[in-house]
Symmetry: C2
Subunit: 416 residues, 2 copies
């Protein structure tokens, strides 16, 4: 990421990202544009980064998939990037109608340089000179998010949620004071408020915690956008475009004064468990199992291997993304002669529940409290995995809500 120098004495730059539901139709785009106008009228220079209107990207992805199951990802990118182009033009027109100078920018026009990994490209460099020059004329830049340009002069896209990353990349390149991510939720909660009614909105969360949440499937921010914000110290705010309450700031750990040991309880139903029974316990067994899965682009998450039995066999349990389960089973059945196992059991009725908090680094006993809380409720833990700031357990799916509520209370997160 090469950032162009900021113009001395210039006004603050605010980047506003509007997600698909916030620009779902013209009325919503008008509401979003009023938020832009408000920042602009306070004397800030504003860069707006927009997603496709809700539903558009799904439709385009679906068409491309129906055109050919295995399709040229360069053509996929040409098709799916059209959605953001439409929103950017409409948003610029609506700002102009409000009397604000504005223009749309497509990825290839600046350009936004990316690598050539079509479908999940990474931004390498953004040329923001033209945008900065137009700040002098108080013009607002409306950027089509999610897209960039490869060295071959073809459109690339940044993967689902990529517009978050576009927004953070512009905030970085323009040394923006703040990057506001407008979405359909108020901010980041201590847990899913639809399940845990006593969940509270967090005023602040650390980059690290947000990263864990994002990788656990929280759809609020693309993982890469959080990494980028963390690396360049971009102040991110996640907030709703449908009300005026302040959102959640994603910030450096130092900025959080009152630290809790655990910040939130997350869960993911996007898991499936595979158990290989009575695998011959010999060196190289992990490679024999996980090599073919990796070759088939199947991500393996949690892994546990039972203690070897007297007959030199072991049980191996691990999780894959639920949508990959069928493919994973096929791969493992094909590799059965090499792996040498007695039985394969697949289970989709599982949930991964995680407690997250940077406070864990300095406090012991977090995992212990989790295990005790679940045990008290008679919830069996199937697999465990941990990181420096996270403990995850795999449980039977029907206990999901019970587990979330119990843990939320146990870690003192309940509202009021």
């Amino acid at each position: 990421m090469a950032a162009t120098k900021s113009i001395p004495g210039s006004m603050s730059v605010i980047v506003q990202k509007f997600g698909g539901t916030s620009v779902a139709n013209l009325e919503r785009i008008r509401n979003a544009a009023l938020r832009t106008k408000s920042e602009y009228d306070s004397g800030n220079n504003v860069v707006v980064v927009v997603s496709a209107m809700a539903g558009t990207t799904n439709q385009l992805v679906q068409w491309t998939g129906q055109a050919a199951e295995l399709h040229d990802t360069r053509e996929y990118d040409a098709v799916v990037s059209a959605g953001e182009q439409i929103t950017a033009g409409l948003f610029a027109v609506i700002l102009q109608e409000m009397g604000i100078p504005a223009r749309s920018w497509l990825g290839w026009q600046l350009p936004i340089r990316t690598d050539s990994a079509h479908g999940s490209a990474r931004i390498q460099e953004i040329d923001v000179q033209a945008i900065q020059q137009r700040f002098e004329e108080r013009q607002i830049a409306v950027i089509a998010g999610f897209q960039g340009l490869s060295v071959d002069n073809r459109i690339t896209t940044l993967g689902r949620g990529g517009t978050d990353t576009s927004a953070v990349a512009f905030a970085t390149a323009l040394k923006a004071e703040r990057c506001d991510i407008f979405t359909d939720v108020d901010g980041i909660y201590t847990s899913d408020p639809r399940i845990v009614t006593r969940a509270r909105k967090l005023d602040k969360i650390t980059y690290e915690e947000m990263l864990e949440l994002a990788s656990l499937g929280a759809k609020v921010l693309q993982t890469r956008s959080v990494e980028l914000a963390m690396n360049y110290g971009v102040r991110l705010q996640v907030l709703s475009s449908f009300n005026d309450t302040p959102g959640t700031f994603v910030v450096d750990e130092d900025e959080i004064v009152e630290k809790k040991i655990v910040s939130g309880i997350a869960y993911s139903r996007d898991e499936a468990k595979i158990t290989l029974r009575r695998v011959a316990d010999r060196p190289g067994i992990a490679a024999a199992v996980f090599g073919p899965l990796a070759d088939a682009n199947i991500n393996v998450d949690m892994i546990v291997q039972n203690i070897s039995q007297s007959d030199k066999s072991t049980d191996l349990t691990f999780t894959v993304t639920r949508s990959h389960l069928e493919r994973a089973v096929a791969v493992l059945e094909k590799a059965r002669p090499e792996i040498d196992y007695e039985e394969l059991k697949a289970d989709e009725d599982v949930t991964k529940v995680s407690v997250i908090g940077v406070g864990m680094r300095s406090h012991v006993g977090v995992a212990k409290r989790m295990f005790a809380t679940l045990a008290e409720r008679g919830i069996n833990i199937q697999v465990i995995s941990t990181s420096e700031i996270k403990v995850s357990v795999l449980i039977e799916e029907e206990y999901t809500e019970l587990a979330l509520r119990a843990l939320h209370t146990a870690y003192g997160l309940d509202d009021g």
Copy 2:
């Protein structure tokens, strides 16, 4: 139009244009792609030029209009050009799925250089080098029609029907053997077959006749595409993508052996008549009337001025596009003091009926037969206008069908 030299010894180039109804969904794109495959398999190099999927452009135009009635045409172009981008990518994927090397090209990627008249830009130059190089690898180019690139690096569009012009421009630049315009009709008919059941499909029509038809509102080909084809001698074929019958060739007059005096009877309900009664008959009166209309971008078509009365006043009758009538009346009422007329009468219940044929150049009596035929049926002629190969009359709308059938018979055009 700068054409790149064709590669010596290379195969023939066929340009295929598919309109919105021909690519309305994936199934139709597949059918269209089979036509491409067929040309390709016969050993030709093929360039496909595609419209947006039927309905898409209308939706995008509508959104832009709702965003702001008077909108920045540069943003309009960014929005509406997205439709062709989607089709081009999907078409390329489907060709690849059939085992044919193909890639999509957007206007800015080649580029297709146009002037900066956003919304109705004219193509200035197409760089076809990359396409020709890929012919060597037998790759098919799938071009997003309707769009180009201005000198300011912004997307331009060529006006409604502009994909026809894109196709002819590529046929010119690539010295194509033929430019096939696939649409939802079989070809060009001697009259509208929905009204004149004995109308026949023409095997051939001259560029000049097609130009008159296009300017009379026949929506089969954009006027500019016919001009371009005429100037560069591009062999155009208009044919249906829904059946395998040959279409109508648009060709040079020399190519037509058996010449008819009249080739077709056209009509347009897109007219409205305005009469200014008792206008003071003085020099400069035409400028006083038509100047303000031109300033308001209102096109005036047929004009007739009555012989001056003894009181030095005259009646002035002319037609405007029906959708402009309300605006035209407002302009004329505002200019009443300068024009000095007694009464303004507006009439929407009119139809323009035209007989067209290059044979008129060498035959007298065509207009006379038209007037006699209409008189026999008791149809009153309100305004007359003529060109070298066309006679148009304005009649009361309710006589439209009667007039068309009578003229079709009178000029010997009836089938069988």
